[in-house]
């Protein structure tokens, strides 16, 4: 890392996130003046243009890539047209200990005087909650599922390589062509399309204006600059901003600036989930890199410096905070951009290049919170690339995460995408699969699967609130065998899924009608040709995902009931229900029996894994292929992000011995403490899930640094990954843990049963070691970290 990058990194790392009311004020003033004068798409486009014309432009010292969404780094814009923060929200955000956002008195005053009075009752959030059925609301309130669109706009968008070949002027020409082709005689939607296309055209102009304003500022700064070196840099920034995004980038530096302007455009236009994502950035940059080396306008050092400068830009943009926050809740600054490195090219050849390796170095040197990164590993990926990635993973940052490209391609082809588009696709957000640059793949919300079983066990009643939120599937004590119980579970599952989908379809129409995204639509394939918005079925592909949480918890709970109640008959349903209701009060022996004497998912045990397969098949059956409103379908994802903690909080005790209120299993990982035979057994269990039928799964694994401290360990980590991928695993990520975690492991060993440690000449589970030796290892680890 050179001095410039070190300074930028430090500045970004140390800046405190704050709330900027600038965007909210500009938007409110614009809406007051213009709402009702234009069609919605044109209104949104003019609103975007107004922002591009008026927002404060910032160019920082040392910067090579320029542009901020807010008036300065880490000043976070708000989106009152989607969700409007209350004064109470701001007070909490300003005062809470974790993930704090500073809020100035000025910002609060602006909200009090102008923003809140205008938007109250008019936000997308208000529309959502005013238009969903009562049954949906009660299920939502008790935590059966979450709804993504009550906080942010649909997103998870990732770009392909189009913006490196076309500038806004090229897109304008395409838009003009599409407008000219409209058939007002035969196409009943022609005038709607004309409005949308006009809106897109305005957005192209807006993006150019935004860049020109940066050029103007840089020009002024260059005139005053006394340092000749910086003066030259500023002049170069002027030239870059005059060229992109109007035109396609001509070199490496311009290519990065091009991406960044498009990124800023999309995150200024709306607050889509997971910000924006460059996708296969290494592949996009490589032709510019190669050309720069040949014509000697670039060297490796310079290229790496520019990439690092982009990294800083991502980190300068903490996620806009949620509304309706509580003091206890912490949230995250991470806005989930997840850059894909490696993978395959469109023609099926290996996508790894020199820039891929360079990016691994940047990840290692920068280790900032953002951007997130992953490596895409196909059967063609060189072994040395996977090992280079493992060496970064070893550092314990938790990234890059590792994806199986072959599986990611298979999932997409199964979902109806072409092989080429699938290869150009990848993963964004956490693990979500999509055809980059050609697809709106919308996450609609998390589904609390263990809670569906809870409804079955209480005949449709929510345990904690006592409210009836599900179907009455019958008195659980009346089930004669496991299959009767399971049938009730499937009925309940279908009821809840359909409830969610119905509401989602309504919400989807609201976004299409009230919050179109014409700028985003410009850069996503086929929106221009179709004359349709990104939120209205414009893209080539339009998938909706429902993210299923807690497969581990529900499998283990069903396994426990099957074995102890129906097969061994050592426990009656009445006894079990009573114990669950009282959260195992005075029933510790029963709880431990359920926890220790039940076959659990994650141990390569067919008894439990067969139940997992059955539940998974029911989830696929309930969700996969159901129509959305855009001529496409719902698919499932096996992802919880951090929602397994919330879903656990609203869930009573479960039959696998889990206490009420504690987290359910995360992603596709086994329940906490359930897997007792190491990573190979976990991987074998996961391998039994037909993951190709999902849009992504998530597996967390934890290792101590000593397991991978030498090259032999790196080699074995790579083998473990490859073995999982042979079994069609979608994703795996590693925590290489520190002594803080080991201390927690000592305090709550059941939560850490899968934690492997290198003892001496062999590895063992940390919690199986005696106190004396645990202490010894903690001391050693701390010593190693000096």
């Amino acid at each position: 890392m050179n001095e410039r990058v070190a300074r930028l990194r430090k500045m970004s790392f140390e800046s405190e996130p704050s709330i900027s009311a600038e965007r909210a004020l500009l938007v409110t003033e614009f809406y007051k003046e213009n709402h009702g004068k234009y069609s919605l798409p044109v209104l949104r486009a003019l609103n975007f243009k107004n922002l591009c014309e008026k927002k404060t432009i910032y160019i920082g010292e040392n910067e090579l890539i320029v542009g901020e969404r807010g008036p300065f780094p880490k000043a976070v814009s708000t989106f009152p047209e989607l969700t409007c923060h209350s004064i109470e929200d701001f007070k909490i955000l300003d005062s809470r200990d974790m993930t704090r956002y500073g809020v100035s008195d000025d910002a609060i005053e602006i909200y009090k005087q102008t923003i809140i009075p205008y938007w109250q009752g008019r936000t997308m959030r208000d529309r959502v909650f005013n238009n969903v059925p009562a049954e949906w609301k009660s299920a939502y309130e008790v935590g059966m599922f979450t709804e993504f669109m009550e906080q942010r706009a649909p997103g998870h968008t990732t770009l392909d390589g189009i913006i490196y070949n076309k500038g806004m002027l090229d897109f304008k020409a395409e838009i003009a062509e599409a407008l000219a082709k409209l058939d007002y005689l035969r196409d009943p939607q022609a005038s709607d399309k004309a409005e949308e296309l006009t809106a897109m055209d305005i957005c192209c102009d807006a993006a150019i204006i935004f860049a020109e304003r940066h050029a103007d500022l840089a020009e002024k700064m260059a005139e005053k600059e006394t340092n000749p070196e910086r003066k030259e840099e500023l002049k170069r920034i002027v030239a870059n901003c005059r060229r992109v995004p109007a035109h396609a980038p001509g070199d490496f530096w311009e290519a990065l600036q091009m991406y960044w302007f498009v990124h800023l455009g999309t995150i200024t236009e709306l607050n889509g989930w997971d910000a924006m994502n460059p996708g296969h950035l290494d592949q996009h940059l490589y032709p510019f890199y190669e050309r720069g080396l040949v014509d000697e306008t670039l060297d490796r050092e310079k290229a790496k410096e520019l990439i690092a400068c982009l990294w800083v830009k991502f980190n300068n943009h903490p996620a806009p905070p949620k509304v309706g926050v509580t003091a206890k809740e912490s949230g995250t600054y991470n806005d989930f951009t997840n850059i894909n490195i490696g993978g395959l090219k469109r023609d099926g050849s290996d996508g790894v290049n020199d820039v891929s390796y360079m990016m691994l170095e940047v990840i290692d040197e920068m280790h900032l919170l953002q951007p997130g990164t992953n490596v895409q590993i196909s059967h063609k990926t060189p072994r040395r690339f996977l090992k280079a990635a493992c060496r970064v993973i070893r550092k314990g940052y938790g990234y890059p995460s590792v994806f199986n490209t072959d599986e990611v391609v298979m999932e997409q082809v199964r979902a109806g995408k072409t092989l080429e588009d699938a290869r150009e696709g990848g993963c964004s957000g956490c693990i979500e699969t999509g055809a980059f640059g050609k697809e709106a793949y919308i996450l609609t919300g998390y589904l609390n699967i263990p809670k569906i079983l809870e409804l079955v066990l209480s005949n449709g009643m929510d345990q904690m609130s006592g409210r009836k939120v599900g179907l009455e599937t019958g008195d659980p004590c009346g089930f004669q065998n496991f299959d009767e119980l399971y049938d009730a579970f499937v009925k309940q599952l279908n009821y809840i899924v359909d409830l969610k989908i119905k509401a989602n379809n309504t919400i989807e129409r609201m976004y299409a009608a009230y919050a179109p995204a014409p700028f985003l639509s410009v850069v996503i394939a086929d929106c221009i040709a179709n004359g349709k918005d990104y939120y209205n079925g414009g893209p080539r592909y339009n998938t909706n995902y429902i993210q299923c949480c807690g497969i581990g918890t529900v499998t283990d709970s069903l396994s426990a009931i099957k074995k102890h109640v129906f097969e061994d008959k050592v426990l009656t349903m009445e006894q079990l229900l009573k114990a669950l209701k009282t959260n195992f009060k005075n029933e510790e022996a029963l709880r431990l029996r359920l926890f220790n004497k039940t076959p659990f998912y994650g141990n390569d045990d067919d008894y439990a894994d067969a139940i997992m397969q059955r539940v998974y098949a029911s989830l696929v059956e309930a969700i996969d292929g159901k129509p959305n409103t855009k001529g496409s379908q719902y698919h499932l994802n096996m992802l919880s992000t951090t929602c397994h903690v919330y879903f656990g909080k609203v869930l009573g005790a479960s039959a696998n011995g889990r206490f009420a209120g504690t987290p359910i299993s995360d992603g596709t990982s086994p329940s906490h403490g359930a897997d007792r035979y190491g990573p190979t057994a976990v991987i074998k269990s996961l391998g039994k899930m037909d993951q190709s039928k999902s849009g992504g799964t998530l597996l967390n694994q934890r290792f101590l640094p000593s397991v991978v401290e030498d090259e032999d360990g790196i080699e074995k980590l790579a083998h473990l990954i490859r073995s999982y991928f042979k079994l069609n695993g979608h994703h795996i990520q590693f925590n290489i843990v520190d002594s803080k975690t080991l201390r927690k492991a000592q305090a709550t060993p059941n939560e850490y049963r899968d934690l492997l440690v290198r003892v001496a000449g062999y590895s063992d589970y940390f919690v199986d070691l005696d106190q004396h030796h645990q202490e010894e290892i903690i001391a050693r680890t701390e010593h190693d970290s000096f």
């Binding site: 057994a681 074995k716 083998h719 073995s723 042979k726 492997l756 000449g761 030796h773």
Partner: protein, 301 residues
């Protein structure tokens, strides 16, 4: 089908030979090394252990024990070795896994089924199975049957041995083994007998024998200060190994006291408290000395 007594099957074993492996630990050993880090492998007899930190005092085991061999006290369960008939009812009934029996009699088929589960990992990492212990050659018929089954399955086979076995039997094991992890503890017969209970003559002769027969051998030397870490013994060891044909790989296993708690749980007298853990420098010096004999030396398993 042959049965044998094992005390553990460890998956994702990454220090017992090449690649990702499954290690099967045989119970019973002809040696009794002072520093033994797998004391549960010393005797072939099944041993009961109690984990008081897991016991919740529910009394289930007391209630179900057919021999009335368990008593509930304020310190948890008290178990009587004399009256116990090893029926393991306590293990089955205890909800908190506070009762455990070290050692189980299993058929070769059962073990092979477990080994087979991780074939995908062996294939990917060029790993396989390792038979360790205890001393796997103590139950040689069982071992041979397992080796034959793994030959059939084309699974790489490693045998971790003390070398203290009948020469003929060792050769028949060698015919089915891809790699030996062969322990050399001391070159002096008398010292060896004092610290391990047996002379090293058979061990050294056997090593020469299998080397002559072309077996692939990785020598493992536990580094035990005060016993075998002195220059004289290391020099003798180096000379001896370099005289063997085709044997060049040596792993040094520095003594550690991780097994201390195992001793107390098993109720076995613990020698290791008297042994020092070697310093990194000591181990490096030994490695360097051995490299002087044209050997490939690795620290750790």
């Amino acid at each position: 089908m042959t049965s044998g007594v094992i005390f553990d099957i460890k998956k994702f074993a990454i220090h017992d030979g090449p690649g990702i492996r499954t290690t099967v630990f045989f119970k019973g050993c002809p040696l009794a090394c002072w520093w033994c880090h797998n004391p549960e492998g010393l005797t072939i007899a099944e041993q009961h252990i109690h984990h008081p930190e897991r016991c919740i005092g529910c009394g289930e085991c007391v209630q179900h024990c057919p021999q009335n061999a368990i008593e509930l006290s304020d310190k948890g369960c008290l178990w009587d070795n004399e009256s116990c008939i090893r029926c393991k009812t306590c293990v089955q009934t205890c909800p908190s896994e506070a009762h455990e029996f070290i050692g189980q009699t299993v058929t070769a088929g059962e073990v092979v089924d477990k080994i087979k589960k991780d074939i995908v990992f062996y294939d990917e990492s060029r790993g396989g199975v390792t038979f360790s212990g205890g001393e796997p050659l103590m139950q040689v018929e069982f071992l041979l049957e397992l080796l034959d089954a793994c030959v059939q399955l084309d699974i790489h086979r490693t045998v971790d041995t003390t070398g203290y076995a009948d020469a003929e039997l060792l050769l028949s094991v060698a015919a089915r083994t891809d790699l030996f992890l062969y322990d050399l503890k001391h070159l002096d017969a008398e010292k060896h007998r004092n610290y391990t209970g047996v002379s090293n003559k058979k061990i050294l002769d056997n090593l020469k024998l299998i080397a002559q027969h072309g077996a692939k051998v990785n020598i493992r030397i536990p580094i035990i200060p005060g016993f075998n870490a002195d220059d004289e013994n290391i020099n003798h060891t180096g000379e001896f190994i370099s005289s063997l044909s085709g044997v060049r790989d040596v792993s040094l296993l520095p003594y550690h006291n991780a097994a201390k708690s195992k001793y107390s749980r098993l109720g076995v007298h613990c020698f290791p408290s008297e042994i020092q853990i070697p310093s990194k420098k000591e181990v490096h010096d030994i490695a360097e000395r051995l490299e002087g004999f044209d050997l490939q030396v690795k620290i750790g398993g």
